[in-house]
Symmetry: C2
Subunit: 302 residues, 2 copies
């Protein structure tokens, strides 16, 4: 039996929140359904943020209400307690909180300092346990911060330990600005896996410096079996200067499928989802791998 | 002291031979000089092939005569004995012969079957030793052949052994069509390094399936310290259907420099060379990393 790797597509959130074109909830639902058609079962569908701060995410409650029922794992990002309450009311499967490893990033991203955000995280993780709402924690700028530079590994390891201690069932390590090299990924993930086990850890990479796929490979080598990626390679963080697209789901799935892992995802249908988001947003959503996949489809080889 | 990794830029050969626009020898020289300005010391400057078969490589002898003198390692590809004699007469430092690991690729690429091409290789490697002309051997389609599919590892290991036995000082393993995953690279290179040592081996990757940078990382992990890459990610093989660009030199150098290796290459000057080849050919020579590098330059951070 091939080993499974979970792909969590964050395109409907991390991808769409940073596009010039703002999609209506039903367009976002069409994209989510295209991902589901391709076999993607874990999807970050939106965020419960202020529609003034991030207009692209407005109507997420309406979107959640319209999601298909089935063996899917839908999540939404929440920046604060209000977001948590909205997420709970909307009936989302999983709420994601984001805590940067660097103080300036926390202040820029969610207007809290490190101490405040850790207190918030502990509060929300406790509420999640009481409410039976799965709440995951994502450590942003886990390798490098756009304001403070390189983040010490010890800072990330300590923060990760505090999040697990506060009840997080899983911690996502995010290279928010796409700054890490595979050498740095291997170094940090080796230590985290040793300390906490690979089963509770996940990784989130951007392709800013063209190392996104290499970073996924480095993390796979460390035993990580769950990854965030974004259909079409769209993405970025509006509050992190210099961040560019997430690593493309089609690039990651092509590599993992070819390496013999079971992602459950059909590449031919996945490029249809990439085409759709490209049409919806007008963004260039054509990864190298998508061109190759399409040539294979034309030749009847896939 | 940081460990050195050698970058051999094959853009002036592998990059230019596959463009719609054909450059004059003096334009190719300008590109080579831009690479030298950036600190690239190993460059495949052209090939001694029929100007009818590959018009983009015409005038390579004229180009070689005009190359700057200094601590540089210039090489040229030779497809046959005539090419060897032309290369020798031109006074190039190093001649590169290419032998595919698969029979159909040899027949399509240089119109010889496996036995004929091995006999040719042994002949040329012997002549090179007698003439004191360094002659390297490149194994094309070392992972997958566009005609025959996956190539057995044993075939490549055996061929590599025969080439070393025939006097090749170095063997380059080429993923000619960009088909290998980092898992496959790690598997084959681990075996080759164990058998022959990392010092005599080099790798050549294409980015067809978006795994080029990950493949370089996988090979670095196996101990490989010399890589072919192409400025601007241009490249391909006119006789290998489906091949697309070589892994971009700027992507590879950014990763290796960031991982603490000494490539001797200045990223800021390297993107000038990528800009130049983009202007010369009209091709899209802007890798993700080049965009990032330029933003850093604008901010005075590089």
């Amino acid at each position: 039996m091939p080993e499974k790797i979970i792909i969590n597509d964050v395109g409907p959130r991390d991808g769409l929140q940073n596009q010039a074109v703002i999609l209506e909830p039903q367009q976002r639902l069409a994209l989510i359904n295209a991902l589901i058609d391709a076999g993607v079962k874990h999807i970050e569908v939106g965020s419960f943020v202020s529609p003034v701060a991030v207009p692209a995410m407005r109507g997420t409650a309406e979107l959640v209400a319209a999601l298909p029922k089935g063996d899917y794992h839908f999540s939404a990002l929440i920046p604060n307690l209000k977001g948590y309450e909205l997420a709970k009311a909307a009936g989302i499967d999983t709420a994601n909180i984001v805590i940067a490893a660097s103080n300036t990033m926390n202040e820029q991203n969610i207007r809290m300092n490190n101490a405040q955000v850790l207190s918030f995280a502990k509060d929300v993780l406790g509420r999640g346990q009481a409410d039976h709402l799965t709440t995951l924690a994502c450590i942003a700028t886990a390798w490098e911060c756009p304001f403070e530079g390189l983040v010490p590994e010890k800072t990330v390891i300590d923060l990760c330990g505090q999040l697990f201690a506060a009840g997080a069932p899983e911690v996502v390590l995010a290279d928010t600005i796409g700054a890490a090299s595979p050498g740095q990924v291997k170094s940090l993930m080796t230590k985290l896996v040793k300390e906490f086990g690979a089963q509770r850890l996940s990784c989130h990479f951007h392709d800013t410096r063209a190392m996104g796929v290499a970073n996924v490979f480095a993390a796979v080598e460390c035993g990580i079996r769950k990854f965030d990626s974004s259909i079409g390679g769209l993405g970025g963080c509006p509050f992190a200067p210099g961040a560019s697209g997430n690593v493309a789901t089609e690039d990651v799935v092509l590599m993992l499928n070819q390496m013999g892992f079971d992602t459950g995802i059909d590449l031919g249908k996945l490029v249809l989802a990439a085409d759709l988001v490209g049409e919806q947003t007008g963004a260039n959503a054509t990864a190298n791998s998508a061109r190759w996949i399409k040539r294979q489809l034309e030749k009847g080889l896939l």
